[in-house]
Symmetry: C2
Subunit: 435 residues, 2 copies
C-alpha cells in the first residue's frame, strides 16, 4: 500500500467511532487486519478490543506486546478490564492489578470471581448515589459538580449511611419536581434490584419485562455493589442467541471467519466426533438387519426417509420445548399435558405423512405390504420423536443442564437409530408379505 | 375453583405488573388461561395483550368481543395499537380508526403501512421536542409543565420551525449545564438518526454499537417523524433470534405450547413436506444403485455415516457464513478467501475423519478397499458440504433472500443426496476390489 494511502487511512480511523473500527477489523482478512490495527491510535485500542468478537480479539491481542496491552487496559474502567481479562496474558493481569488503586483492585478481583453468566460479570461500577435526606436542589448542585454523568444514567441510587439502597431517583423526577422537595418524598421506593450471583438470563428477562435502562445491584445486606445497564444486557442477549445458534449447528464457539484452517478444525471437531459416534451406532443398527436388506434391497433406499422425517419432527418438538423451558413456561403439572399434545401431533402427522410415504413406496415397488410397513414405521418413529423430544430437554433441565446444548444431536441420534430399527424390524417381521 | 379463591386471585392480579400477568398466562393451559384472563382488569387488557407472544395473543383475542377489544385498544398509544392490529378483526380496526383524532389516525395508518421489519414499524410517537434558540432554563420550565416525560426519554429532540432535527439535548446536559446557556450551544449536533424505511436489523446493530437509549426517526427532508427506543430494539432482537431458531428447526412461527394438536400440525407441516421431498430424492439416489447394494449389503449400513457427517459439517459452515453475512463481515473480495479456507478445513477433516471411518469399516468388514472408498467418499462429501455451505448463503444473500431461512434444510438435502451418490458411485466403480 502506498504511504500516502496509509496516512489517509490513519486520519480516517482517528475520526471513526471505536465500534465502527471494530466492524472494519472483523471484516478484514488477517494480514490487512493487523496492518489496520497498527494504524489505530493507542488511546482507542482498549475500547476497540472490547467491541470486537472473542475470536478477533484473540488475534489482535496476540499481535501486541505487554506494554501495549497495559497501555490499552489502562484506558478502561474496572468492569471493562474484567471483560478483557480472560484473553490477557497472566503477567499483564498481574501488572495491571498492581497498578490499580485499592478500590479498583478489589472491584476487578471480585468481578473476575463471578461466573460468566452472572449479573456480577455484567455489572459496572459507574453508579451515582445520593442521600434521601437532602433536597432536590442540593442533589442537583452535587451533580453539577460532577460535570458529567456516566452513560445510561437514567436514575440515581438513593443510599443510606451504610450504603444500603433505599430507593431510586429517576433523572426525570429530578428535572420535573419541585427543587425544594426532599429526595425521600420524590424517589421511587419500589425498585427492581439484582444480586451479583443472579443468573444473567433472568436479569435480561427482567430488563425486557420492565423496560429498564439501569438498575442497582445489591448484596445480601441490601448494600449497593454495582449497576447493571441496558447496553450490557443487550450485548448479553445478542451473545446468548449467537451461542445458541452456534451450538445447535455444532460449533463450540464464535469463529473468526478468517481464522486459520487449523483453528477452525479445532473449533468444530468436538461435535463432528460426537456425530460420528451416533452415526456408527446407527450404522450398527442397520448392520443387525443385513439379512433382511439382502432379501429386499428396496429397504435400503427407503430407510433414510423414515429416519429423516423423524429427525425433522423431533427437532421441531425439542426446539419448542427448549424455548418454553427458557421462558419458564413449563411446570411439572403441565408436562403431562405437553406429552399428550405432542403424541397427538405425532399420531396425526404419522397418519398424514405415513400415507404419503406409504403410497410412494407402493407406487415405486408395487407392493402394498411395503407401503403399510412404511406407514407403520413412520408413525412409530414420529411417536418416538415426540416422546423423546419432550423427555430429553425436560430431564436435562431437571438435572440442571442447559437443554439447548446438544439437544439437536441427541434427538437426531435417537430418531436415526430408532427409525432404522423400527423400519427394518417391521420389515423383518413381515418379510413373508414383502417378497 | 372456589369463589373465595377467585376473589383472592383477582386481587393478586390487580397488583401485578402487566408483563408478569402475561408470563402467567403464557404458562397456563388453555382453559385456565381464559379463566385468569377474565379476571384481569379491563384497563390492563391492552398492555397485557402487547406483552404476550403472538400465539397466545391470538387465543386471548379470540375470546373477546368487539366492545372488549375496543376498550382494550383505547388504553394504548398509537404505535402500540399498530402492534396489535394484525391480530384484530377488521371491524374493530375500522371503529378504532374512526374513534381517533386526525393526528393519531394519520400516525396509525402510516405505522401500519411500514413493513414488519422496518424502523417505521418499531418507532413510537412519544418524542419531546424543544427549540434551539431558547435557554436551558426556558426548556426546563417547559418540561415542568409537561409533568411527566415518556419512558426512555434520555434526550430531547431539538427541531426548527419546520420540524427538521437540528440536534439532541441529553437530559444529562440539561441537568448539569448552566441554565442561562442557549440550547443551541449545549446540544449535541452529531446525531444518530434513522429513517422509517430503514431495516430494523441495521437499526438494532446501531443501537448496540453506539449504546443508544433513544434516537430520532426522520423523513427525507430531515423532519422528525418518530422516535426509536432501546426497549423496542431489545424486543426486536429477541424476536429475531427466536424466529431464527424456530426456522432452523422447521417451525413456521412461534407456537403456543398449549395450542391444539391441529394448530400445531399446521404450524409444522410446511417444513416436514419440504423435508419429505428431499428425503424422496435421496431415496431415489440410493435406488439408482440397488444392484451395487445387492452385491454388498454392508454399503447400506455404511452410507448413512457419509451422509450424516457431511450434513453436520455443512451445517457448521453454513451457520458461520449466515452469521457473518448478517453482521456484514463478508465482502465480494473476501468471498474467495472464505472458499479457500473452508475447502482447507474440509480437506483436513476429510483426512482425519475419513481415516477414522475407513478404519471402522475395515475392522468391521475386513476389506481394506472398503476403508479406502469410505475415506474417499467422506473427503469428497465434506468438500461438497464446504463449497455449498459457502455458496448457498452467499447466493441467497446476493439475490436479496434471507440466508437463514431454510439454509439448514438445503445443505442437508445436498449432503444427503450427494453423500449417497458419491459413496455408492465410488463403490460401484471399485466393486471389483470390494467383493
Amino acid at each position: 500500500v502506498h504511504k500516502q494511502h496509509l496516512a489517509e487511512l490513519h486520519a480516517l480511523l482517528d475520526d471513526m467511532h471505536p465500534a465502527d473500527v471494530a466492524r472494519v477489523l472483523e471484516a478484514l482478512p488477517r494480514d490487512d487486519r493487523l496492518l489496520v490495527w497498527d494504524l489505530v491510535r493507542v488511546e482507542h485500542d482498549g475500547e476497540i478490543l472490547l467491541e470486537v468478537s472473542d475470536a478477533v480479539r484473540e488475534s489482535l491481542i496476540k499481535s501486541m506486546d505487554s506494554d501495549e496491552l497495559l497501555a490499552a487496559a489502562e484506558t478502561l474502567d474496572t468492569d471493562e478490564i474484567a471483560d478483557l481479562a480472560p484473553d490477557l496474558p497472566q503477567d499483564v493481569i498481574q501488572e495491571l492489578l498492581e497498578s490499580l488503586d485499592a478500590q479498583k483492585r478489589a472491584r476487578l478481583q471480585s468481578t473476575l470471581s463471578y461466573p460468566e453468566d452472572s449479573v456480577g460479570a455484567l455489572m459496572d461500577y459507574d453508579m451515582v448515589t445520593i442521600r434521601a435526606d437532602v433536597t432536590l436542589e442540593v442533589a442537583l448542585r452535587y451533580l453539577r459538580r460532577l460535570k458529567e454523568l456516566p452513560d445510561h444514567t437514567d436514575k440515581l441510587f438513593v443510599v443510606d449511611r451504610d450504603g444500603a439502597v433505599r430507593g431510586v431517583m429517576p433523572l426525570q423526577r429530578l428535572l420535573l419536581q419541585d427543587p425544594d422537595a426532599n429526595v425521600a418524598d420524590v424517589m421511587a421506593e419500589e425498585v427492581v434490584t439484582f444480586r451479583p450471583e443472579d443468573e444473567a438470563t433472568d436479569a435480561a428477562q427482567a430488563f425486557e419485562r420492565y423496560d429498564l435502562v439501569s438498575a442497582p445491584v445489591i448484596d445480601a445486606r441490601n448494600r449497593l455493589v454495582g449497576r447493571l445497564t441496558v447496553d450490557a444486557v443487550v450485548d448479553y442477549i445478542r451473545q446468548e442467541s449467537d451461542s445458541d445458534m452456534l451450538s445447535i449447528a455444532g460449533l463450540r464457539e464464535e469463529e473468526d471467519i478468517f481464522s486459520s484452517v487449523w483453528k477452525s478444525v479445532q473449533n468444530r471437531w468436538a461435535w463432528l466426533a460426537i456425530n460420528l459416534v451416533t452415526a456408527f451406532i446407527a450404522s450398527r443398527v442397520i448392520g443387525m438387519f443385513d439379512h433382511t436388506i439382502e432379501k429386499l434391497v428396496a429397504l435400503a433406499a427407503l430407510m433414510p426417509i423414515i429416519a429423516g422425517i423423524g429427525g425433522n419432527s423431533g427437532n421441531q418438538t425439542i426446539t419448542m420445548i427448549v424455548r418454553a423451558l427458557a421462558l419458564g413456561q413449563i411446570h411439572p403439572d403441565s408436562a403431562r399435558k405437553l406429552f399428550t399434545k405432542e403424541i397427538g401431533v405425532a399420531a396425526l402427522n404419522g397418519l398424514i405423512w405415513g400415507s404419503v410415504v406409504g403410497l410412494f413406496a407402493y407406487m415405486l415397488y408395487g407392493k402394498p405390504a411395503l407401503g403399510l410397513v412404511m406407514m407403520g414405521a413412520m408413525t412409530l418413529n414420529l411417536l418416538l420423536a415426540a416422546v423423546m423430544g419432550v423427555a430429553i430437554p425436560v430431564l436435562m433441565h431437571k438435572f440442571g443442564r442447559d437443554p439447548a446444548v446438544g439437544s439437536s444431536v441427541l434427538i437426531t441420534a435417537v430418531t436415526d437409530s430408532g427409525g432404522f430399527f423400527i423400519f427394518l424390524g417391521l420389515a423383518t417381521l413381515f418379510m413373508a408379505y414383502l417378497k
